[in-house]
């Protein structure tokens, strides 16, 4: 009973942390919404966005969120091999997403549209950059989990950590959906 009790304490605590992160993203969305037209001689949204590329990114992140869910199920079933494969899938898709995003940034900077150009570009880089940073932290966390998994059998604390990670990963995917809709589609 004690095991279960402090289990849902951790979940509630982590969930409230996720909510504070959501509010931070809300502030970034509000700032982006207010500053999206202040392009100030710099390029506006349509000119610099490449929609098919972003669609690919969205699909990749969606699938990695899906594989992460399956990984948790595999962990609950205790099937270590399946768990490993799904986690590696999530890891690979996560890195693919991060790589595509960084290459998009690199291309923008190469063309001279850096964040010092205009308020719109500043808020664009910050919103996408913060999300990218969260993805990087998530991937780093996943690598730590994989190392931990290799050294010990599947026990309740591993499952707890995995479920926490999957909450974080789903949360990131939801934030990306809103980025995809508000930043890219509306532009």
């Amino acid at each position: 009973m004690v095991e279960h009790k402090n289990n849902d304490k951790t979940f509630l605590g982590f969930w409230i942390y996720l909510m504070t992160d959501l509010i931070m993203f809300a502030v970034l969305f509000a700032t982006f919404a207010v500053l999206r037209n202040n392009t100030f001689t710099g390029p506006s949204g349509e000119e610099i966005f490449n929609l098919p590329f972003v669609l690919a990114e969205t699909l990749i992140l969606l699938t990695s969120s899906f594989t992460c869910g399956l990984a948790v199920l595999a962990a609950r079933k205790g099937d270590k091999k399946q768990l490993y494969s799904w986690l590696l899938g999530t890891l690979f898709l996560g890195f693919a997403f991060l790589f595509m995003e960084l290459s998009e940034f690199q291309e923008l900077i190469h063309e001279g549209y850096t964040w010092t150009k205009s308020a719109f570009l500043s808020s664009y880089f910050t919103l996408i950059g913060t999300h990218g940073l969260h993805i990087a932290v998530g991937l780093f966390w996943l690598i730590i989990l994989l190392i931990k998994l290799s050294t010990s059998e599947i026990n309740s604390s591993i499952i707890r950590k995995l479920t926490l990670f999957s909450l974080f990963w789903h949360f990131l995917d939801i934030v990306w959906i809103f980025i995809f809709s508000i930043v890219y589609l509306i532009a």
């Binding site: 009790k5 849902d8 304490k9 509630l12 605590g13 409230i16 942390y17 909510m19 504070t20 992160d21 509010i23 931070m24 502030v27 970034l28 509000a30 700032t31 207010v34 500053l35 202040n38 392009t39 100030f40 964040w115 010092t116 150009k117 205009s118 308020a119 719109f120 500043s122 808020s123 880089f125 910050t126 730590i144 604390s157």
Partner: protein, 656 residues
């Protein structure tokens, strides 16, 4: 090689008289403490007993001690400002304009972030777990980490006395574009940014910790509607912390990106929108002042009920009032910038919302009066602080309602009338509440009562001092004196009122002297008024059921609760407390990783202020490694054996 230390060059080292003065007094105090500790050979005791402890009662006492030190600095800043304003009639006061603005910013930040939040978190750490019948908070390690981040923020804000540079000269909320690179190129605003980020993070962690504790760890039988009201106000205050501190953190990150990477969120040119900063910072700003005042309401409800010997009148309406204030406080922030030019509908909407908050507060005050009705009132020091609260807060509330009407706010915005208003709310409301809380729960924490006579002298000095210093400010505000004014010509006749305010500040300083004397005398005479029963005031809530000072495990056996005022119903039932069968208790071990992480955070903050970027990278690595080491070690608990508990409880001799 020369930019190895970024902007930390020789000229940056302290050279103004007041930074050197500050540095000398701080290092002297520090050295004195180190010598005393080595002389008494108490280093080991300090480290194991206090610094690395995860016991919320100890962390609470540490919070209050740090907050009291910061109170000294805050009041000293205030007296420096007032003295300058008195001398500045026509002539040049002893401070330059830039120094004056720096001290006024430091005064604001220290009083709100490090005194009020510190005292508040201290009291909550000690009392809330005891009141809900829990042995500890939900996440003991995070509690210690939250405290040490708060201390790291406090150190960073005072470190410029030693390492030089200057502090932000922009007002306590560093409103853009003044705080941008264009108008504040110095390191001042960076100190402001990083000390607020680090201590803000600590507050956020504390917020999450308390919400989970109150929701998940109440004693069996204690439903939400049977919780003491101080727990309700803590819960609501922490919900506000969790809802709005992320807004502060993100706004400061945006300001920092503007300054560090040259972005254009709040700059005057390049499409930046400085008004967005004001909008965002006040979206956090107003709920912040409710975060400070709500627990004070909780403390007043506890005190009035206990010292009238009666149940709190209208418990449900008090809860409804507190929750209503919590929800409404997030809908009012525009009354801080009515004068920015929004149209009449917007101003009127936010003005009306601000007034609606006065309704639950008014009902709350009437509830307290009704609690005293038909009671047996004992006018002890906590009750005196409550009467002081009623005397000041009602004036402040009326001024608040006036400020909520936009056309009046056009006249008195950023004037001394506004300054007097929020000082009435902060001192009359929050600080009096915290002083009442400290004198009410002091016997519970240390086992002996504070000296009553000295406490009453201190109260009278604070009250008379408060009125003498802030009523003139109300009048000065009506005379057209703006806030943060460092010079004026004597023909305006303001000097006389500033003099009276300085006099008032002197009386307040006397009050603080009495409080220190009170603590010293009470410690000396602690044998006489030692309180063995654990219930010095005939209390009503669970914390009085433990011995005072309570053992590290707080409750030998978690009590079951079947009604409000749990301890009072137990006493009324009068059934002799049968000797329970004791069982082993798992308590969290001491941990130093909270200190290490905060030390690294301090290094990160300091290096980012001075742009020593290699040090920042080292700091981050330090944090990551400590966190990983922490997650890898699993034995974080030790058990207190049942026999040990039995021996301890025997000494109390309360079992029939």
């Amino acid at each position: 090689m020369e930019d190895l230390f970024g902007k930390l060059t020789l000229q940056a080292l302290p050279h103004e008289w007041f930074t050197i003065g500050g540095a000398i007094s701080m290092t002297a105090g520090g050295l004195g403490a180190i010598l005393l500790l080595t002389y008494l050979k108490r280093w080991k005791w300090l480290w194991t007993e206090w610094l690395t402890s995860t016991d919320p009662k100890k962390i609470g006492v540490m919070y209050i001690t740090v907050a009291v030190f910061m109170l000294f600095r805050g009041v000293l800043d205030a007296v420096l400002l007032w003295l300058h304003q008195v001398l500045a009639g026509g002539g040049q006061g002893y401070l330059t304009a830039d120094h004056f603005q720096q001290i006024s910013t430091a005064h604001g930040v220290i009083m709100v972030f490090f005194v009020a939040m510190g005292l508040l978190f201290g009291l909550m750490n000690i009392i809330v777990p005891l009141q809900i019948g829990a042995r500890d908070l939900a996440f003991p390690f995070l509690n210690s980490l939250g405290f040490w981040l708060y201390v790291a923020g406090a150190i960073l804000i005072n470190i410029f006395f030693v390492f030089g540079g200057e502090f932000a000269a922009t007002g306590w909320l560093a409103i853009a574009p003044l705080s941008g690179l264009e108008f504040s190129p110095g390191v001042g605003v960076d100190y402001w940014i990083w000390s607020l980020q680090i201590s803000g993070l600590g507050t956020l962690i504390g917020g999450i910790n308390f919400i989970v504790t109150i929701l998940k760890m109440r004693a069996p039988g204690m439903t939400l509607m049977r919780m003491p009201l101080f727990v309700w106000t803590t819960l609501c205050s922490m919900i506000l912390v969790v809802s709005v501190f992320p807004i502060l953190t993100m706004t400061i990150i945006l300001l920092n990106l503007d300054r560090l990477l040259g972005m254009h969120f709040f700059t005057t040119g390049f499409g930046g929108n400085p008004m967005m900063y004001t909008n965002l910072i006040w979206m956090w700003g107003h709920p912040e002042v409710y975060i400070l005042i709500l627990p004070a309401f909780g403390i007043y409800s506890e005190i009035v009920a206990t010292f009238s010997g009666k149940r709190l009148f209208g418990y449900t309406t008090a809860v409804v009032a507190v929750v209503a204030v919590t929800l409404l406080s997030t809908l009012v922030w525009l009354h801080h910038f009515f004068t920015m030019g929004a149209d009449a509908n917007v101003n009127a909407f936010f003005g009306i919302m601000t007034m609606i908050i006065a309704i639950p507060t008014g009902a709350q005050i009437f509830n307290w009066i009704a609690t005293m009705y038909k009671g047996k009132i004992r006018l002890t020091t906590p009750m005196l602080w409550f009467l002081g609260f009623v005397a000041t807060f009602t004036f402040g509330g009326m001024a608040g309602v006036m400020l909520a009407i936009p056309p009046i706010d056009y006249q008195v915005h950023n004037s001394l009338f506004l300054v007097a208003h929020f000082h009435t709310m902060a001192i009359g409301g929050a600080l009096f509440g915290l002083f009442a809380g400290i004198s009410y729960w002091f016997p519970k924490v240390f086992g002996f009562k504070l000296n009553e006579k000295l406490g009453q002298y201190a109260f009278w000095c604070w009250l008379v001092g408060f009125f003498t210093s802030f009523v003139p400010l109300y009048i000065l505000g009506f005379m057209g004196v703006t806030r943060r004014l460092d010079t004026y010509d004597p023909s305006t006749g303001w000097q006389f009122l500033f003099l009276i305010s300085l006099l008032g500040a002197g009386i307040i300083a006397l009050g603080i002297g009495f409080q220190l004397l009170q603590i010293a005398v009470s410690i000396l005479k602690r044998k006489e008024n030692q309180n063995t029963t654990g219930d010095p005031w005939d209390g009503r809530t669970l914390e009085w059921s433990t011995s005072s000072p309570p053992p590290s495990y707080s409750f030998a056996v978690i009590p079951t609760v079947d009604d409000r005022d749990a301890f009072w119903t137990m006493k009324q039932a009068g059934k002799p407390i049968s000797k329970p069968i004791f069982v082993d208790i798992h308590a969290p071990k001491n941990t130093a990783s909270g200190i290490y992480i905060s030390a690294f955070a301090l290094i990160i903050g300091f290096s980012l202020v001075w742009h020593i970027f290699w040090l920042t990278v080292l700091g981050f690595l330090g944090v990551i490694i400590t966190v990983i080491v922490r997650t890898f070690n699993d034995d974080t608990e030790y058990t207190i054996s049942a026999s040990e508990i039995a021996k301890n409880e025997e000494k109390r001799g309360i079992y029939g």
